[in-house]
Structure formats: C-alpha cells, structure tokens
C-alpha cells in the first residue's frame, strides 16, 4: 500500500514539473532559440549549441572540433584579438566552452542586465570568426599541452581512451574528443576554416537562454543580431556503422599507478531506443550509491576494491558504451574482481531485480532531475542535451518512459547487451 501511495505522488510531481516557462521560436535563418524564464536566482546563462562533435570529424582530423572551439576565443570581425573572455569578465560574467563527442557548447553566466554582451559576441563569432595563423599555431600548442596534462600524464583517463578505442573498429566514437597528437599536429588552418563553414551556421545551431530574464526583453535583441546571419551551411553527416564484434576485446596498460583499475565497457543503444532507459535503471542498480550491488559486493563484502561506479550514456547521438569502473586494491586481485562483476551481471540475467531496487532507482532518477533544476545553467544544459537528440520536448516522453521501466525490462537488457561479443575490457596495472 505504501508503494502505491508513493507511486501516485511520484506521478503527480515528476512528469509535469519544471518546464512550464519554456518557450521556443525559430528565426528565419533556421536558428532555434529556447527561452527558460526562471526568477529564482539573480543570474542568467546564454548558451550557443552547435550540432557538431567528434562524431562528425573526418579521418585523420581527430580533435578538429575541439581545436576550433579553442580558436573561437581568438577574435571575430568586430571583436578582433584575444578579447572575448576579457569583455565578459569585465561585465562580471564568466565564459567557457566544451566539446563532446556529439556537440559543442559556448556559454556565459552573467547578470541578465548584461545579456546584450553575450548576444553581440556570440553572433559575431558565429558569422565572422577570424583565422589568424599565429593564433592557430599557439592554440595547437596549448591543446597539445592539454592532451599531455589530461591524458598522457593521467593513466586513469588514458585507459578509458584506450578502451573506447578498442570498443569501436569503425565508428567515429573510437577517436578521442581531444584528438590524437599526430592528428592535432597535422590539422591545417584551411581544415579549420572549412570545418567552421561546414558546421557553424544558424541552421546547425540553437541558443538556450535561461534565468532571470523576460522573454519579451531579450527576444528582439537576439533576433536583431542573429537573424541576419546567413544560414547557408550544409553539414555533412557521415554514414556511421560499426561492424559486428566477435569476441571480447582487451587492452592492458602499464603505467605508474598505485591502484589498478578495471574498466569494462559494453556497447549499448542511445535514446530514443527504450532499452537505453532500462540500462539507466540497471546502471543505478549495479553502481549507483553505496547500497548498489557492485559496491556492496566489491567494496563492503569482499573489500577487494576502493571504489566502483557505473555509467550509461543514454543521451548520445548514437549508441555508445555502458561503463563499469573499479579501483582495485591489489594487482593480483584484478581477475577475481572481474569475475565477481561478471557473476553479478549473470545474477541479473537469471533473476530480475527486486521491486524495491526498481523503486530506489526511480527515486534517484527523479531526485537527480529535481536537483539539476537548482541552477539555471543546469536547466539549460538539460534542455540542450534533448534538443541535440531532436527536440527538448522529448523530455516529457523520456520521463514518462523511464518511469514505466519494469524489473523484466532491466533483466532483458542485461541479457541482450551484456555478453562477451559486446564487451571491451581495460586493465590499468602498475608499472
């Protein structure tokens, strides 16, 4: 009875809260603008999302999306030189950008009274980026330092890069977002220009503006600066496929580390494939929190591991990987740990999770959604991730679908995807 009452309240709160103040419009050049009015804090965020990431990169040019992201801070026609961050910061704002496998986002967080600055800067670099050869060479050097810092000198990130590299043979997801050093070095300024003209245009982008704004105040400002930008770009979308995998794949990396790390990655589908939602619930059951099955078994009961966590990426443009990461205490126990993980996976395949586990996972999904609404930046990101998949309005369907996942669905996806012909394993061992 208690469960029934809880479920009822859940349905009342979860699917309908949060998005009443969102509006969208599409400008004449195809640029979509999504407005989120939220007056709960004093700040606002302006985000420009480009539908381009490492998934779109041509062979031999890995890292070009990210390198272009760096160059976007080196000036545009009306704001030449290295002035973007300087202008934003002198208005009391902060700015940054990030590149993922599926998209690239530029953002500012600042007072709503300064939003015109974001509009001026972002519209100018969407239309008129400068390509100074000296800046280009400097940014290449900076990106190579970034790669050294984040991957070459960080064994835990490096093993993940290697596992992704073996999990896919053909799919562009196999390439690191930051790029391989050799590719970064070989990218030319001409490549960058062509890439910018191919992917950075209004019809391949959208704006999310969120926070303490009034839609009627910002609408005209955005239209004035962005609507005149030419929409003529024809982003090529590669035909993406991944050949069938035969057998388990494994990479062993020996680096200076104290704790060995085990990384297991199963190829899985992305949303709107509904299996991706059952996999989200499965991820919570296996590795979400200290009461999860793998944490209990590996950290608490056997004390073979220091930590364990799982990660699914339902919101991807194409199917990606379900990860299980374990920081193992002793190097000679890594095989035993892998066996235990596999036993736990078999257990799910043979017997569906309990109703209580399903309810717990759904509570966590609800809470993580509600907590993400605490910041206007978080709200805007949430909306943007769905818009990349087609439309932010898919959120309601997503929430409805994830609440319908059953114990049998979870068991079925474990059976369907967690098999050796879908698995890549990485072992990070001390040198």
């Amino acid at each position: 009875m208690k469960h029934l009452v809880l479920s009822l309240i859940f349905i009342l709160i979860f699917p309908f809260m949060g998005f009443s103040k969102i509006k969208e419009e599409i400008l004449k050049n195809g640029l979509k603008v999504i407005y989120i009015e939220d007056h709960s804090s004093a700040v606002s965020t302006f985000q420009v999302w480009y539908k381009v990431g490492s998934i779109d990169e041509p062979e031999g040019k890995s890292g070009i999306s990210h390198l272009l992201e760096h160059l976007m801070f080196r000036g545009s026609k009306n704001y030449p030189g290295n002035v973007f961050s300087k202008i934003i910061q002198s208005q009391g704002g902060i700015d940054n950008a990030f590149t993922t496998k599926d998209y690239t986002v530029y953002f500012q967080k600042l007072s709503p009274s300064k939003i015109q600055t974001s509009i001026d800067l972002e519209s100018d670099r969407m239309a008129n980026l400068l390509f100074n050869p000296e800046d280009f060479e400097l940014e290449k050097k900076i990106v190579l330092e970034e790669r050294r810092q984040r991957y070459e000198d960080d064994p835990e990130n490096l093993i993940v890069e290697e596992v992704i590299g073996i999990a896919f043979k053909q799919h562009p997801y196999r390439r690191p977002i930051i790029g391989w050093s050799e590719d970064i070095q070989n990218i030319t300024l001409e490549d960058i220009k062509n890439y910018y003209h191919e992917y950075y245009c209004p019809s391949n982008a959208f704006i999310v503006i969120a926070g303490n704004i009034k839609i009627e105040d910002v609408r005209e400002k955005i239209r004035e600066k962005f609507e005149s930008i030419s929409s003529s770009c024809f982003p090529s979308r590669r035909i993406i496929y991944e050949p069938k995998q035969y057998g388990e794949r494994r990479v062993i990396l020996r680096k200076k580390t104290h704790l060995p790390m085990l990384v297991m990655a199963y190829k899985v589908p992305a949303y709107p494939n509904k299996d991706s939602l059952s996999l989200e619930i499965l991820s919570t059951i296996l590795g979400g929190g200290q009461s999860s099955r793998l944490y209990r078994k590996l950290v608490k009961e056997t004390a073979l591991a220091v930590n364990v966590y799982t990660g699914n990426s339902a919101l991807s443009r194409d199917g990606f990987l379900f990860f299980i990461f374990v920081s193992v205490k002793e190097v000679d126990k890594i095989k035993e740990v892998e066996e235990i993980v596999k036993e736990e996976i078999e257990r799910i395949k043979n017997e569906p999770p309990t109703e209580k586990e399903i309810e717990k996972a759904k509570n966590q999904v609800e809470a993580s959604f509600l907590f993400s609404q605490d910041s206007v930046f978080g709200q805007a990101l949430y909306i943007g991730k769905f818009e990349i998949l087609g439309s932010w309005k898919m959120i309601n369907q997503y929430k409805e679908d994830i609440m319908k996942v059953t114990a049998n669905d979870v068991q079925n996806v474990a059976k369907k995807y967690f098999n050796l012909n879908n698995l890549s394993v990485g072992e990070l061992l001390p040198k």
């Binding site: 208005q91 303490n212 509570n363 809470a367």
Partner: protein
C-alpha cells in the same frame, strides 16, 4: 517546555541580492539563535520541491590530536548510529535518493543534506540521527581507514597532489596547515576508536554549530523537524584553542625537485606565506591575485605563459585565506623542456607586479569582475546553503553579500601595490617541481 522548543530569539532578517548588480527579486533570510547556542539561518524557497540543510561544525585539523581524526570523524558519521547499522544507513540514503556530503576544511567541517520534498521527513530524521547519535563501530573504522589509506596512495601518483603536499609541508612545517586534511597514509594505523570518540564528544557540540536551511520547508516544518531535534541536544560548551603557524625564515629561494621519469610535463608550484581571512589586506589581495593569475585566461600569467607563448594549458595563482594565515601560490604544468622558461616567466611577472604600475583599466576590470560575479557564487540553493554558515563562521557580517562590492570598490592602487610587495616573495619563494629530470 513547548516554549523552549520554539524559536527563542529571532535576531534579524536580511535581504539577499539587494544590490543593483544582481537585480533579482528580494528574498528574506531569517536567523534564529537557539538557547543551546546553535544558530539557524533559514530561507524559504518553493520553486523546486527540494531542500538543503547544511551544518557547519567548528572542528578541523586545527583541533586534532593526531592527523586524519577530523576527516575520519566526519566521514564515519554515516557508518552507524545507536539505532542504525552502516548498511541500513546506506540503504536509506540510496532509497530516499538523498545525499549527505561531508567536507572537512582546514578551519571547519560542513555537512550538507540534499533531499526531495517527498522524502524530507525521513531524510531529516536520518540526518539528525547521524549527527547526534553516531556509534563509530570498530569494524567500520578499520574499513574506512583502509579505504582512505589506499585512496591517499593513489592520490600520491598525481603530480599536482605531490607538488602541493610538498609545498605545504615546506611552508607550514608541523602546523596542521602543513599536512593534508586526509592525513598521511603511514600514520593512519595509529588512530584508535577512542581518538574519534573523543574528538566527536569534544567538538561536535551544538553550542557553536551554524545550521542553514533553504528550500521547500515551511516554518512549521522547520520548527518540528529541525529546531526540535537541535534544541533537545545539549553538549559540552567549548572554546577552540588554536595556534598560528610559525613560518621559518628563508633568505633565498628554496627549491625542491621530485623526480618522475614517467611524466611528459613538469608540474610547478611557486609559493609563499599568504594572509588570514580577517586580514585587512584581503580585498586588495583578491584584486591583485585576479590581475596576476586568478582571472582565468585574462590574467597576466595566463597571457604570458599560455595565450602568447602556448607553453601551458593551465596556469593560475590562488591564495588560502583561513582563520590563520594560509598560503599564496602559483601552479602551472608545462612540457618538461620548458620548465626553466616558465619558472623564469613567473618570477618576472611577480617582480613586475611589485615594481611596475598597474593600469587603471586592469584595476577597473578586476573590480568589475569580483563585484559583478558575486551573485554567481550564490546562484543555486545549494551554494547559498553552504555559503551562509561560512559568512557567520568568519564573522563577515549579515550584510556581507550586500557590502562586498563596497569593500572591493574601496581598494586603491596603493593598497594593491602594498599587498603585492608584502606577499609576493620574489627573494625567497618556495619552488617545487615534479617531473622528468
């Protein structure tokens, strides 16, 4: 009895975001002082059905009889109470989808509960149980020590961690600021249950605790679910007995090299004595630091090292204004062969900051950023929940948020010059390099 349980004194109501920079709607913050000495800061917000409850406990490595005790005490709170086992607590936290974060700083410990409105009652019940009735089971202590030991050894592979640890030790010597909050892996075995019990009994007393509650909790709920358990809790009254670090005088730079042949980059830290939070130079140093290396890609160091030469991806300066004087330092990572060039560039920039004039544009921009970006430091309920007790702890005044832009605006070019000459020790800095020989 009922009267005792209701708010004893309503001391003040202050307005957040009242400055024109923020331009947001006003929000009423209430402060309640309870008879047992605990303080409650309360802000009602119902735009999302969630709530945060933070509690700041004045207990840190400054109060430790042995390293790690403050850290372990805070982290072991969720490992068992008089009526709940560790497993039951974990089950409840995950099932209710709540989180109880524990952060131990060099000056205080802060716990933050996050819960959805739907599970608030159970969440608060659990939160006060772990805060008031922890049992610190022997078995759980052993497991946690083993986990911390392993994690520390893993962190010791990280070049930034190695460099920072070595810098702190060199600067502060045996003072608690000179060691990591988590302690030393080798010394963990010396800790006994009694150390943790005594630390808890002595320092986790309500009389100095500062609570903050923000979110979808009305005043009735606040009274019943929060004030009641706190008011019924009596502990020893305590005053802290803390000693400032005694810095060893250096008459020339102290250079430390830690060899790591496997690395492609050198991690470089250059630093020296900084200031305390109550130091009158705090605001001048904030501006100087912004211009030097705290201002992201626009700082002088970032410009010289990253933007104009491409020698690094990350370079910054920062300072730790604790209850007692902390450190000021610069960290950068660069390809091994560029190590000397980068060190030289940093020292040149430090000298320039001391000797040459700052431009009025630099100062104007720094002030505009520090004042203008202040609302970003409190732009979520969670950030507010953790910020309010800190304002109280460092005695910054209830009007601190409103006054901050004034404090910044008052700083003159001479103040900045003076603080640069006081702090930037170009004659006898500490240099730590971790990298390839």
């Amino acid at each position: 009895m009922r009267r005792l349980l209701i708010f004893s004194i309503v001391s003040c109501v202050i307005i957040l975001f009242s400055n024109s920079i923020a331009g947001a709607e006003k929000m009423d913050l209430k402060t309640f002082n309870l008879q047992n000495g605990a303080k409650i800061k309360y802000l009602y917000r119902d735009n999302i059905p969630i709530a945060y409850v933070s509690v700041l406990i004045p207990a840190s490595p400054l109060d430790e009889p042995k390293p790690s005790v403050a850290y372990l005490t805070a982290h072991l709170l969720t490992h068992g109470t008089k009526t709940r086992t560790a497993t039951q607590i974990e089950d409840e936290i995950d099932f209710l989808a709540i989180s109880i974060e524990k952060k131990v700083t060099y000056d205080y410990t802060i716990l933050t509960l996050s819960a959805t409105k739907r599970h608030l009652k159970e969440a608060l019940n659990l939160f006060f149980d772990i805060l008031i009735n922890p049992s610190f089971p022997e078995e759980e202590i052993k497991k946690e020590i083993s986990r911390v030991e392993k994690s520390l050894k893993q962190m010791e592979q990280d070049p930034s961690f190695i460099a920072y640890k070595s810098f702190l030790k060199t600067l502060f010597g045996p003072h608690p600021y000179g060691r990591l909050i988590e302690g030393e892996p080798e010394e963990l075995k010396n800790i006994e249950r009694q150390d943790i019990l005594e630390f808890y009994t002595k320092h986790y007393t309500p009389n100095n605790m500062i609570f903050s509650i923000i979110g979808d909790i009305n005043e009735n709920e606040l009274r019943e679910l929060i004030e009641k358990p706190i008011s019924m809790w009596y502990g020893q009254k305590k005053t802290r007995n803390i000693n400032p670090p005694s810095f060893v005088k250096r008459d020339k730079p102290l250079k430390i090299f830690i060899n790591r042949d496997d690395l492609t980059q050198s991690t470089i830290i250059i630093g020296f004595e900084g200031i305390s939070r109550k130091d009158p130079d705090f605001y001048a140093l904030s501006i100087m630091n912004y211009i030097l290396g705290g201002g992201g890609l626009t700082s002088r160091l970032a410009k010289q090292i990253r933007e104009e030469r491409g020698l690094a991806y990350s370079v910054y300066s920062t300072f730790n204004p604790y209850l007692l004087p902390g450190a000021f330092y610069i960290e950068v990572k660069t390809k091994a062969e560029n190590t000397h060039t980068v060190i030289k560039l940093i020292i040149e920039e430090l000298k320039k900051m001391k000797e040459k004039t700052l431009t009025s544009e630099e100062i104007k921009e720094a002030k505009a950023f520090l004042s203008g970006s202040f609302p970003l430091r409190i732009d979520t309920m969670k950030k507010i929940s953790e910020f309010l007790p800190v304002i109280e702890f460092y005695d910054l005044g209830d009007d601190y948020i409103k006054k901050y832009p004034e404090y910044i605006e008052k700083v003159t070019i001479d103040d900045i010059k003076k603080v640069a000459n006081r702090i930037l020790n170009t004659e006898s800095y500490i240099l730590v390099v971790v990298g390839k020989n």
